[in-house]
């Protein structure tokens, strides 16, 4: 078995060299499973996000890769080698902590030099690397400050530089932008992307912010209750969620559960308990023959009109329950006559005069929704 190392210039799409691999990994804390039987393959050079609500096990997964926790079962491989029992200080990964975890008894420069100093790198080489890292995160003029004299965004940059300066095989980012305000977060997102492209290092990021995961990642793993629900590219995750949880967690969606009334090779017909019939294409979702299913329809795929629409498919009448003005869009909750409520995202056009209680029709094509296993 020979381990081939491919040059890091190759694009992440074409190569299949794995930087991080989790095989059947479980972690128990006092008998309770934080994660269970997880398999994960993270390719060299990719920006990989682990996304999920709090308590889903995403941080535990990251800590297992970093070496702060040992797996209860299974194997953690980094660059093809089993690291399950290797302590954190002997792994070629570096972490950017959620709380930054900067050493407040050291200057910015000493913080960044810490990793090189403990590895006994020579002074001149060390100084050069630290200067480069400071340059990279645009913090050159703050070298002699102490962390407590920096703003949140600046601390974030120092934390990034302190990890990057070690030239790790894998960078681990634990909710790196969680503590920043919206504007700064957007700015740092761009910088993270730039850094990732510039350095070609594998990034593994943990986040609960689906927008952040969608905009930054090459691939995303969505986690729930210690399990991986789905792994895929942002568009795969968004357009073809495989479970109702993923559909609901990534973006916004309307979920309609019902009994399968009729099914052929192309179409499913569902009847909800309220008596609504929903048609859905079954091209992508390769559902086995189920008695019940869930239909997911995105708010932006629903058309809202005041006259009865002409298209076939799914069309229902109701009235506007709530309306939220979002500038470019209107966010409406429509109460159907049958009783269900649907969220509709409507482009904001001035000719429409939607107010609460306005009678409306909602409609969407069977190809604009997805059938999922309940």
């Amino acid at each position: 078995m020979s381990q081939t190392v491919s040059p890091s210039i190759a694009s992440p799409q074409t190569q299949q060299v794995l930087d991080v691999e989790l095989r059947q990994v479980s972690k128990y804390f006092g008998g309770e499973a934080a994660i269970q039987d997880i398999d994960l393959k993270i390719r060299e050079g990719e920006f990989f996000s682990i996304l999920g609500p709090s308590g889903c096990g995403k941080t535990t997964t990251l800590r297992l890769i970093a070496g702060f926790e040992q797996p209860s079962a299974g194997m953690v491989l980094i660059q093809g080698r089993d690291m399950s029992r290797t302590p954190a200080h002997r792994r070629s990964v570096n972490t950017v902590f959620q709380s930054y975890a900067l050493f407040n008894h050291m200057t910015v420069k000493d913080n960044i030099a810490f990793g090189l100093r403990v590895k006994r790198m020579g002074r001149s080489q060390r100084e050069q690397r630290v200067a480069d890292a400071l340059q990279l995160v645009k913090m050159g003029s703050f070298a002699h400050r102490y962390p407590q004299q920096l703003s949140g965004g600046q601390k974030q940059r120092v934390a990034l530089a302190r990890a990057l300066v070690n030239r790790p095989a894998v960078m681990l980012l634990d909710e790196p932008l969680g503590a920043l305000d919206l504007k700064l977060r957007k700015q740092m997102q761009v910088e993270l992307t730039n850094l990732h492209q510039q350095l070609g290092i594998t990034f593994v990021m943990v986040t609960h912010d689906q927008e952040e995961a969608l905009s930054l990642s090459n691939r995303i793993a969505v986690m729930k209750d210690g399990d991986i629900e789905q792994i895929g590219t942002p568009s795969e995750i968004y357009d073809y969620p495989q479970t109702p949880f993923v559909a609901d967690f990534i973006g916004e969606t309307n979920l309609l559960q019902g009994e399968v009334e009729f099914a052929d090779s192309q179409m499913l017909r569902l009847l909800t308990p309220e008596g609504t019939t929903v048609l859905v294409n079954r091209s992508e979702a390769n559902l086995p023959d189920l008695k019940t299913a869930v239909v997911s329809v995105r708010p932006e795929n629903i058309r809202l009109s005041q006259e009865a629409p002409l298209n076939e498919g799914n069309c229902y009448s109701g009235y506007v329950k709530h309306i939220m003005y979002l500038g470019t869009h209107l966010h409406c909750v429509v109460q159907l006559q049958t009783g269900e409520r649907l969220t509709v995202m409507q482009p904001n056009r001035s000719e429409q005069s939607l107010t609460p209680e306005t009678p409306v029709y909602v409609s969407w094509l069977p190809s604009d929704c997805l059938a999922l296993a309940a």
């Binding site: 302590p87 200080h89 975890a101 810490f114």
Partner: protein
């Protein structure tokens, strides 16, 4: 007509003055009892001691001769006819005991505090801390007597040594005199002040951010490097506070050196006692020695505050 707004304003300012006065009165009422206490039982006695210390040769029933620095000169000035180096020796020995006790407490206390704060099972933590400071619930006199029964010639320690040499044929461990030696004083002082050191270090280590230790390991630091480059610097204010507190209290301790120490382990606190209630009865000299000690301890407390301050400034 013009008088009315003026009088209104006047009344208003009167009201304001009244409120200010009330506030001042409130503060004074709260501060007066402790303030009076401090003045009556701390400031005045200290000034009294300072006054007495300036009268050389003042003994009960005798008026001293003159007023001046004679008592201090006896202790510090080698060119004074009345100079006796024994006083400096006693001060030196007290410093030695205090330093030794502080070091011993730090070396023994740090691992204990570290274990309590970072490694002990969380739900046992409070129980363990209480268990560790349990000795403080008994009188220090009782504790000293307990050590006498351990250290005396026929005590537990020598019996244990005897049992050991009985168990190891061919090895004859010498029976030692432990009681009334410097070793006994150091053992007693360390035993007395270790819980304080552990408590202070525990408080400091408990506040330590675990993610800093993880960050150090993450950056490739071995556990030893993490300890010296992160844990110790991060807890330095706690270490300084613990050391200074143990140093100050062990320097002033009277019970342990009196009960466990012999004639050769005279400390400054015992010496002062002797000047007032013992055989020598030289109140002037005793007061001068007291002033020296008060000054030294004040200096230590100033250091403690300075370190504390710098830390809080850094944190802010």
């Amino acid at each position: 007509m013009t008088a009315s707004p003026t009088s209104k304003r006047w009344r208003f300012s009167q009201l304001e003055l009244g409120q200010q006065f009330k506030r001042l009165l409130g503060a004074l009422t709260l501060l007066a009892p402790p303030g009076l206490w401090l003045i009556l039982f701390l400031v005045l006695p200290t000034l009294l001691i300072l006054d007495i210390s300036l009268v050389p040769g003042l003994r009960p029933g005798e008026s001293g001769d003159g007023y001046g620095l004679g008592n201090y000169s006896r202790v510090f000035n080698p060119f004074d006819a009345a100079f006796d180096s024994v006083y400096l020796q006693v001060i030196g020995r007290s410093l030695y005991y205090a330093t030794g006790t502080t070091l011993a407490c730090l070396l023994m206390g740090f691992p204990v505090a570290y274990w309590l704060a970072l490694m002990a099972p969380r739900r046992w933590r409070n129980f363990l801390v209480v268990a560790f400071i349990l000795p403080l619930w008994t009188s220090s006199l009782l504790r000293a007597y307990a050590w006498i029964s351990i250290l005396r010639p026929s005590g537990l320690l020598n019996s244990f040594i005897g049992w050991l040499s009985g168990g190891l044929p061919g090895v004859q461990l010498p029976e030692q005199a432990w009681l009334y030696t410097s070793a006994a004083v150091l053992i007693g002082l360390t035993y007395n002040f270790l819980p304080y050191m552990v408590l202070i270090l525990y408080a400091s280590l408990e506040k330590l951010d675990i993610s800093l230790l993880e960050a150090a390991a993450d950056l490739g630091a071995t556990p030893r490097q993490t300890f010296w480059q992160v844990t110790v610097p991060q807890t330095l204010p706690g270490i300084a506070a613990g050391c200074l507190l143990v140093f100050i209290t062990s320097m002033g301790d009277f019970v342990v050196p009196t009960l466990l120490g012999g004639a050769s382990s005279m400390t400054i606190s015992r010496l002062i006692y002797n000047q007032f209630l013992g055989i020598t009865r030289n109140w002037g000299l005793g007061s001068a020695l007291s002033m020296v000690m008060i000054l030294a301890v004040s200096l230590m407390i100033a250091l403690l505050l300075k370190y504390g301050d710098r830390d809080s400034v850094k944190e802010a």
